[in-house]
């Protein structure tokens, strides 16, 4: 009986809204680009930094591992917004992703093009964005996603039902204890109310050991080595698949080079493959290889964020709710304009990161480390977003729509 590490990395960058003021609204319709390069919100500068620190060095190691170990495999999800930014500002990093995928052993997972929460607000818009993403991935990487994940790994029974009907063979979710109960995340499951689709659930403990705790010197297990990590997996009773799901930027960006994260990644296959029967699988291969153990029921929405594992980081306060409701309320009118520039701006504003930057819960606790934001505070994020929203309304009004 073989056991597999199922590594799945999520690649994403939003189009951050620049310091866009009430004096810009109605005058200048550029929300995402014309900031100075040094500005904290500069998408170009941030992409350059992440490409240098994370994408390029990580892909170099991943490619080396793929060449060295025939068993090595992984899965990636890569949003439309980051693909566009790579095309624009780092063709070198984009090529390095293409090189990985050309090995035939890297699977791309489907999602919304704009990394949005559209599933919860407008089903038509959601399906459009999923299709846009499928087309983009096909165009750039020549692959069609067979497994789906929704933004922030948000998941509920409705989503599984939708993905099943849409023909996906698998879907990804957080392996959250209240949902799993006594069950282990290290198996394949079947969502309730579905026929064919399979569910893979993140082993958050093992994933977070790498993604969050790796460089924490106060952690009792620090320093974490590939040897030690492999030992943990090998001594785990039962289970067929260890689902290590995390942000791609864990490598080199969230965990810096000097933490030893690249060495860890580089030595993981070597250590893991020492034990006969151990292997790596992509998400589709995992679903093909193992029978589902049980049904999993998730009537409410679970995400991979925070201790709450819900959507409160994006929709938890009044500003976030006002901003997202106001935006989706314009949906029909915006699409009716058939103005592609306006429609694309509307979609870029749907990216979940904008709402995340408005989150006050960590800001309030003074935990700035948990607060990845290009804005000084959540209120500035809200103000810039709402000014862009006012401009979208202005553009609608200009076209004769009542707003």
């Amino acid at each position: 009986m073989s056991r597999a590490i199922v590594m799945y990395l999520h690649v994403h960058q939003p189009f951050r809204v620049r310091h866009y003021t009430i004096f810009d609204a109605g005058v200048n319709h550029d929300y995402f680009f014309s900031m100075p390069y040094e500005d904290r919100t500069s998408n170009e500068q941030i992409l350059h930094k992440v490409a240098q620190k994370s994408y390029i060095p990580t892909n170099a190691r991943l490619l080396e591992l793929l060449n060295k170990y025939p068993e090595f495999r992984l899965s990636l999800s890569i949003t439309g917004t980051v693909i566009e930014q790579l095309e624009r500002w780092s063709p070198e990093a984009l090529q390095s992703f293409k090189d990985l995928i050309a090995t035939g052993r890297v699977e791309i997972v489907g999602e919304t093009y704009h990394h949005s929460l559209a599933f919860f607000y407008n089903r038509d818009e959601f399906e459009t964005q999923v299709k846009m993403h499928r087309d983009k991935v096909q165009e750039v990487f020549g692959q069609t996603p067979k497994v789906f994940r929704n933004t922030e790994l948000s998941y509920n029974n409705d989503l599984a039902y939708w993905a099943d009907k849409a023909g996906y063979k698998g879907i990804l979710a957080e392996g959250w204890d209240p949902v799993l109960g006594w069950r282990s995340p290290n198996f394949v499951y079947r969502p309730t109310y579905t026929d064919n689709i399979r569910l893979l659930m993140k082993n958050y403990k093992l994933s977070d050991d790498i993604a969050f705790r790796f460089s924490d010197q106060n952690w009792s297990e620090w320093p974490l080595t590939a040897d030690k990590f492999t030992h943990w997996l090998n001594s785990t009773d039962g289970g067929t698949n260890f689902n290590l799901f995390m942000d791609y930027e864990t490598f080199g960006e969230h965990q810096w080079d000097d933490s030893g994260i690249f060495n860890f990644l580089y030595h993981l296959p070597e250590q893991w493959l020492k034990t006969p029967g151990n292997t790596f699988m992509t998400v589709s291969e995992t679903i093909d290889a193992f029978e589902p153990q049980d049904k999993v029921d998730m009537p409410y929405t679970v995400t991979w964020a925070d201790t709450e594992r819900d959507l409160s980081a994006w929709l938890g306060n009044g500003m976030q709710q006002q901003a997202i409701h106001a935006l989706y309320a314009l949906h029909d009118k915006i699409l009716a304009t058939k103005d592609l520039g306006l429609i694309e701006d509307y979609r870029r504003l749907q990216t979940s990161d904008h709402f995340y930057y408005m989150c006050t819960k960590w800001f309030n606790d003074g935990d700035i480390h948990a607060y990845f934001s290009p804005y000084e505070n959540p209120y500035d994020a809200f103000i810039a977003f709402m000014n862009a929203f006012h401009d979208v309304k202005f553009r609608l009004a200009e076209k004769g729509f009542e707003v």
Binding site: I22, N364, N377, F382, I383
Partner: protein
């Protein structure tokens, strides 16, 4: 401790800050003798208050604020009003006499008015001198150089002190820049607020007109304070014009008096926004509290504010704040909007956003109130206590 005023006789934040700080320090078993330049007739039980009398003066009566003349009654019965410089000279003389006979571990002097006396006291006692800077002359002069005589006293006090305490990082930077003092000689002890000490609101607000207009969808933006150069109200009015153009249902409430009163009324008229700007003049008590309470957002656009208590008062009465970055209070409160005092457009941008989005106003307030509740003078006293401990007579450096 050498101070120039204590509540209820105060011209601004200085007296209140001294009072609260001493109250919190006294809980740490520190014996404080607070030396004032006048007779303090309000009882205080947590420290000893001494009026610094020159030998031939029998009573000193404070009249008006710190910068007004005090009435001195002399032994021979004649009375004389002395200006602030004459007062300082007499205070210095009297403090020197006290210092000769008293025994003190530390001399702690508040602001330039007490510095000459403090230096003299140190000569006589050999106790270390800690000077506490609540504002520098540049703050009081609205960013200009100010009075050269005052600057000279400030400079002397700062250079000769053993330790300097600044009420904010902002003030620390001013001291370093204006007087060339090295940063490691200056510790920051932030002011705070007595969160229990503010009078509660009544159920009905005094501003009936504004309450009615709010029902009609208007929003109220306020500033409460002296109408003087340092407070930068012309920029608030320039921003107000931009706000009113975009959000016509906005009313600016300007509470206070000062030398810019007429100038500001004229400016509002010139900008064509007189209908949207209400000047109430100086208010106290209920009218003062209710002005905070009726507002949707409070703006403190000051050119330079060593600390700046008003945003905290606003938060306590239910109103979030937009705060000048050139202020000490902006170092203490995170959940507020911050703006450079010269940036009229950004000020307008922020005010517009708050008056157009109640969710922004409410979120700012909920979170800033949580921060407000955690503030306490105990923390300030604790820092001061360790500074005393490092400097008191006999301490090994």
């Amino acid at each position: 401790m050498l101070g120039w005023e204590l509540p209820p006789y105060n011209s601004g934040g200085l007296g209140v800050a001294c009072y609260q700080l001493c109250k919190a320090l006294s809980k740490k078993n520190i014996d404080i003798e607070f030396v004032l330049p006048y007779n303090h007739d309000k009882p205080v039980d947590f420290m000893k208050i001494t009026a610094a009398y020159p030998q031939d003066v029998t009573a000193i009566k404070m009249s008006g604020i710190a910068y007004d003349s005090y009435k001195y009654t002399f032994v021979d019965g004649h009375e004389e009003y002395l200006n602030i410089h004459q007062q300082q000279a007499l205070y210095e003389h009297a403090v020197a006499q006290l210092a000769k006979y008293g025994k003190y571990d530390v001399i702690h002097a508040h602001d330039w008015l007490t510095f000459r006396a403090a230096l003299r006291a140190r000569q006589h006692t050999n106790a270390p001198l800690i000077v506490h800077v609540h504002s520098v002359e540049r703050d009081r002069a609205g960013g200009n150089d100010g009075n050269p005589y005052v600057r000279e006293i400030e400079s002397l006090g700062l250079h000769l002190a053993d330790k300097i305490i600044a009420v904010s990082e902002h003030t620390k930077r001013c001291i370093m820049q204006d007087y060339g003092i090295p940063g490691d000689k200056i510790d920051v002890v932030h002011n705070s607020i007595d969160t229990e000490g503010l009078e509660p609101l009544d159920p009905t607000n005094a501003y009936h007109y504004l309450s009615a207009m709010k029902q009609q969808g208007y929003r109220v933006v306020s500033n409460i304070g002296r109408l003087t150069m340092q407070k930068n109200l012309p920029n608030l009015l320039y921003a107000a014009k931009e706000v009113v153009m975009r959000a016509p249902k906005t009313i600016f409430l300007i509470v206070g008096s000062g030398e810019q009163y007429f100038e500001l009324i004229e400016l509002a008229a010139k900008l064509g926004i007189s209908q949207n700007v209400i000047f109430t003049g100086f208010q106290r008590g209920k009218n003062w509290r209710d002005a905070y309470a009726i507002s949707d957002v409070f703006v403190m656009p000051s050119v330079s504010e060593p600390f700046g208590l008003t945003p905290l008062e606003a938060i306590s009465y239910g109103t979030p704040a937009i705060i000048s970055r050139q202020s000490g209070v902006s170092e203490v409160i995170r959940n507020c909007l911050k703006v450079d005092f010269w940036d009229v457009n950004e000020m307008a941008n922020q005010i517009t956003a708050v008056v157009q989005n109640d969710s922004l106003r409410d979120e700012l307030h909920i979170n800033s109130y949580r921060e407000f509740e955690k503030l306490s003078w105990e923390d300030s006293a604790h820092k001061l206590w360790s500074i005393y401990d490092n400097h008191r007579v006999g301490a090994t450096a």
